[in-house]
Each structure stands twice: as structure tokens, then as C-alpha cells.
Amino acid sequence: MSEYLLEVKDLKKHFPVRSGVFSKVTNWVKAVDGVSFGIYPGETLGLVGESGCGKTTTGRCILRLIEPTSGEVIFNGQDILSLGRGEMRRLRKEMQIIFQDPYGSLNPRMTVGDIIGEAFTVHGLARGKERTEKVQELLEKVGLDPYHARRYPHEFSGGQRQRIGIARALALKPKLIVCDEPVSALDVSIQSQILNLLSDLQEEFGHTYLFIAHNLAVVQHISDRVGVMYLGHLVELAPKEDLYSSPRHPYTMALLSAIPVPDPDMRKQRILLEGDVPSPLNPPKGCPFHTRCPKAVEDCKEVRPELRELTPGHFAACHLA
């Protein structure tokens, strides 16, 4: 088995909840509570889960846009959480992010050329005419016109803005790109365009994606392997075909049964989950999913299941799997 490009070990991020006049810490939100996985060079790892399950926080922690509480993030054999500010800034060339909101992620006061070209300026890689040329080249790569460089973000549609965001992430030719729900805010018709663009770019540049989404169908389209998160935990991780054909965790099964099938003759058994996701302020003891799991037994309430390798490459965190 080849080496991981990125390895996350027991990553935790607990946000303090403050209240009262003196802002005392009264509680902790365990947004990410011990997540471990690895990504191979050149592959796309999908990360799915409901809102609030910690998938976005995981992505932000990997880039150190949020400082993790504990754990290790090993990129290219280097633990990036131990890096100083200067070293971290240099490393940022290697890892980039594409955001969910095509409106909030572009500075409305900067031209598209400045937004994309900022990467070159920050790292002192190109300036003046050379920078302009590089920006124009990037614009063409993502399916926009070179003259768009002189316009402002508000002159573009959502899909076009997302292309600008992709060009910005691509500018430094990073090894890893974290895609934080890059198509969730777009029209369905535009979603597939952007997904195809992302795949094409990966083929051309050979970078690695961590693709975060809440939509299993979207992830199925683009990923090589898929991880499923629930309440700050990774509950299942498997190659795409394995996960979709033979899910091992009851939560994954429930999610998969919710994907609509475009065939009226094929009736699927839908697994309806009861209740809501428990609050991450007060997560349940034992298996985080036991409060809603249709198969839960006594053990599940007491003992937290570890992520185990069931068949080669297929991991699940369930006592019953």
C-alpha cells in the first residue's frame, strides 16, 4: 500500500461555550472528537455527514484555519500542527481550500484578477505582466474568459464565482485541495458542470482532493473512497464501490436508503431514522449513534466502538458490523 499524502490521527476540536459576565467556560462543543483517516496522493476522499457533524471543522483543522484541540495532521511526512507561523505560511502553497459560499468567499472590493493573483503576490512568485498572464491562464483553465480578470465578483453568477474560487485555489498548484461543499450552494444544473471541472483539473494537475459534502450522490460521482461522519466521529470509511454496495454501519445504510432512485419500478426499503442528532454539547455515552440506531443493543449504550478494518480497506465503527 502506498504512502499517505495526508494523515489525520485522532483529531479533536472542542469549542468552549462561554457564558456569564466573566465569560467563564461552562461547556464544550465536541465538534470533532477523535477522527483518524488518511488520503493517498492523487485520490479523492469524500467526507459526508449531516450538518453539524464536524466535517467542515475537520477540513478547516487540516488547513489550520481552525487550531485543533489535539491530534496530529501529517502532510507529506511532516506534522503540520507543530510548525511555526513562517513554516506554516510556506506550506500553505501545498494545500488550498475551495469554499461553499460563492458569494462570501470572494472579496467584493477586489477585481477577479487581484483575487486570483493574490496567491502569487503573497508568495512573491510573480508580479506585473507575468502575474496577469498567469491569472488569465488560470481563468481559461476554469472555463472563464481572460478579460474577466478586470471585473468585480458581483458581476458574475454563482457558478462563475465558484470557478473563480477554484482558480484561486489552483493558482499555487497545491498538492491537496480541501473542497468544502463546493457545489451545495449551486443550482443542480450547475453542480455537475463544477464537479466535472474539478475532475478534469485533477486529471490535468494530479492533485488530491478532500471532498466534503452532505450529499451522497455528489460524493459518489467524484470520490475514490468515502468517509461517513456522525456527531464528530468517523463511523465508516471504505472504497466507493464497497461503501455504496455493502455499507456496514447502520447510519451509512440509512443515508444510502435516502438517495432517490430514478426508476419508478424499483421500490427501495427506506430506513427512516427516528429523532434528531443529539447535541454535541452533550453527546451520548457509548456509540454516538445508539440513540437513533434501529439495531442498537445494550453494549452500544456503554462501549464506544472503535473504527475497525472489516475487509481490506473497509473500516466501520460498529459493534454489530
Binding site: L63, L65, R92, I97, L106, M110, E118, H123, R150
Partner: protein
């Protein structure tokens, strides 16, 4: 070839109809174009240009001295000689209103500048450093806000020497807190915006993030608020002068002319009417211009 070009234009059109104007406009021109569409704001702008022209060319426009008394001709109604009549000691109201625009407008401008400087400084410091610095600065701001501003003004003015400079300073010193809170809120929310995060992900320095990403986006509401603040400062000065605590005699300000006329409201209404109209028009104009600027500066509002 032509066919291809046509197809390209069609394609671009489907992006948002901007194919026919490939030359983008600069930010300043876009703001101006959008500002021009706001009719009331444009009217306000003309009023302000008129007022400032009066103030600048006061010596040429004023027909008489603002301080020459002429007791035999007191309380005369408007006439050819005295366009706005005369006051209780026979001074020409028209000349006093024209000269008064200098004081009223400059007090408004300087006081607003003082307030904006203090407000941006305090608000930005609090938001940037956070923690206990933020706590202390914001509690202090809230304390200043909780003071009844006008009585504070009265107190300070009665302690300090009454000069134009002190009046400007005092009005500025009492009106910064709401600005400080606004700036702090702006910066706090901009700091969490994804484009700031994107800049951090690119490895941009703190200084770059502050000066390229946060401040330019926080300035629009500050400019709008500053514009409206000038109107407010003019009102404060007028109120102080009306109570006899403003700019000392014989210098005229719109407020002090009003003050002089208040005992003759029925006998000689012209003494109060004309400066009143000037105050009203100017403050209204500043408010409309502020409104127009708010719409024009917001890049999220499509035109």
C-alpha cells in the same frame, strides 16, 4: 470565423448579459453611476454644493458686515436692502446667515471628523485585539453612550472656554461611541467571512488581511455614517448656540441667530425662519446624501 464569434457572444450573454460592455468600469465610477440614480441624494448633493459655495464665497455674497449694529433699523422685515430683514440690534440677517454657514458647516465637518477618527480607532482596536482589550474598550464605550449626551455637552461647554475649536472638539468627543460599536461589529463579522479565511489559507500576512480585506470592506458604512454625523453635529452646534452656549457673539452661527430671534418670534419671525430653513435643508441634504452613498457603496446590491 464570424459564426464562431457570434456563438461566443451568445455564450457570454447567457452568463449575465455583459458581453457588449467588455470594458469594466472602475470602482469609483460605478459608485458615482449608482449614486446618480438616487434622486433625493443628488438633490441633497446640489444643496450641499450650494451651501459650501455660500460659505467659501461669504465675503463676496454677504451684502453687509455681520457685526455692524444699526439700532434705528432694528427688527425691520425683509426688504431690498435687507434681504432677510434685520435683528434686534439692526444687524443684517442675510449677511449673518451667509457668514454663519462658515461656522455651522465647519463645526459639522470637524466634529464629525473627530468622531469618526475616535470611533474607528476604538472600534478597530477592540475588534482586532479582542479579549480584555475589547472588554475594557467596549464597557467604556457603553458608559459614554449611557451619558445623556446633551447634558454632557452642556457641562463641558460651561467648563471650557467657549471657542469654535472647543465646540467642535466637544461635539466630536460625545458622538464617537455609536461609531466605535459599528466599526467593531463590521470588523468582527468581516474577520469571519470566507474571503478573509481564503486569504489566510493562501498564507497572507495579518497586515495584508487587515489592509486589503477587512478595512476596505468596513469603510463603506463608516463613510455613510460620517456623512450623516455631519448633519447631526450641525444640529448639536445649533442647539448649543440656541441655548447661548455655542460660538460666542458677535460671530454668527445659524444656531446663535436663531437664539437671538427667539424673543421676537411673533414680532420678527424672519430672524428665526431663515437660519431655520438653512439648518433644516443642510441636515436633510446630509442625510439624503448618506442614504445615497449607502446604496451606491454596497457592492452586493445589484443595480
Amino acid at each position: 470565423m464570424l459564426e464562431l464569434e457570434k456563438k461566443r457572444i451568445l455564450l457570454r450573454d447567457s452568463y449575465g448579459g455583459d458581453a457588449l460592455t467588455p470594458e469594466p468600469e472602475s470602482y469609483g465610477r460605478m459608485v458615482w453611476r449608482r449614486f446618480k440614480k438616487h434622486k433625493l441624494a443628488m438633490a441633497g448633493l446640489y444643496v450641499l454644493i450650494f451651501m459650501y459655495a455660500l460659505a467659501i464665497f461669504a465675503p463676496m455674497i454677504a451684502t453687509q458686515s455681520y457685526e455692524a449694529v444699526d439700532p434705528p433699523n432694528k427688527l425691520k422685515p425683509p426688504s431690498r436692502e435687507h434681504l432677510m430683514g434685520t435683528d434686534h440690534v439692526g444687524r443684517d440677517v442675510f449677511s449673518r446667515v451667509i457668514w454663519g454657514s462658515r461656522i455651522s458647516l465647519s463645526v459639522g465637518f470637524v466634529a464629525a471628523a473627530v468622531a469618526v477618527t475616535l470611533g474607528v480607532l476604538v472600534g478597530a482596536t477592540a475588534a482586532y485585539f479582542g479579549g480584555w482589550v475589547d472588554d475594557i474598550l467596549m464597557r467604556f464605550t457603553e458608559i459614554v453612550m449611557a451619558f445623556p449626551t446633551f447634558f454632557l455637552l452642556l457641562t463641558i461647554v460651561s467648563i471650557l472656554e467657549r471657542s469654535i475649536f472647543n465646540i467642535m472638539l466637544v461635539i466630536g468627543l460625545t458622538s464617537w461611541p455609536s461609531l466605535a460599536r459599528m466599526v467593531r461589529g463590521q470588523i468582527l463579522s468581516l474577520r469571519e467571512q470566507e474571503f478573509t479565511e481564503a486569504a489566510r489559507a493562501l498564507g497572507a500576512s495579518d497586515a495584508r488581511i487587515i489592509f486589503r480585506h477587512i478595512l476596505p470592506n468596513a469603510m463603506a458604512p463608516v463613510i455613510v455614517s460620517a456623512t450623516m454625523r455631519i448633519g447631526g453635529a450641525i444640529l448639536s452646534e445649533s442647539s448649543l448656540s440656541f441655548l447661548g452656549l455655542g460660538v460666542p457673539e458677535p460671530f454668527p452661527s445659524w444656531g446663535s441667530i436663531l437664539n437671538a430671534g427667539r424673543n421676537y418670534l411673533l414680532q420678527a419671525p424672519w430672524i428665526t425662519t431663515f437660519p431655520g430653513i438653512f439648518i433644516f435643508l443642510t441636515v436633510l441634504a446630509f442625510n439624503y446624501v448618506g442614504d445615497g452613498l449607502r446604496d451606491a457603496l454596497d457592492p452586493r446590491l445589484k443595480d
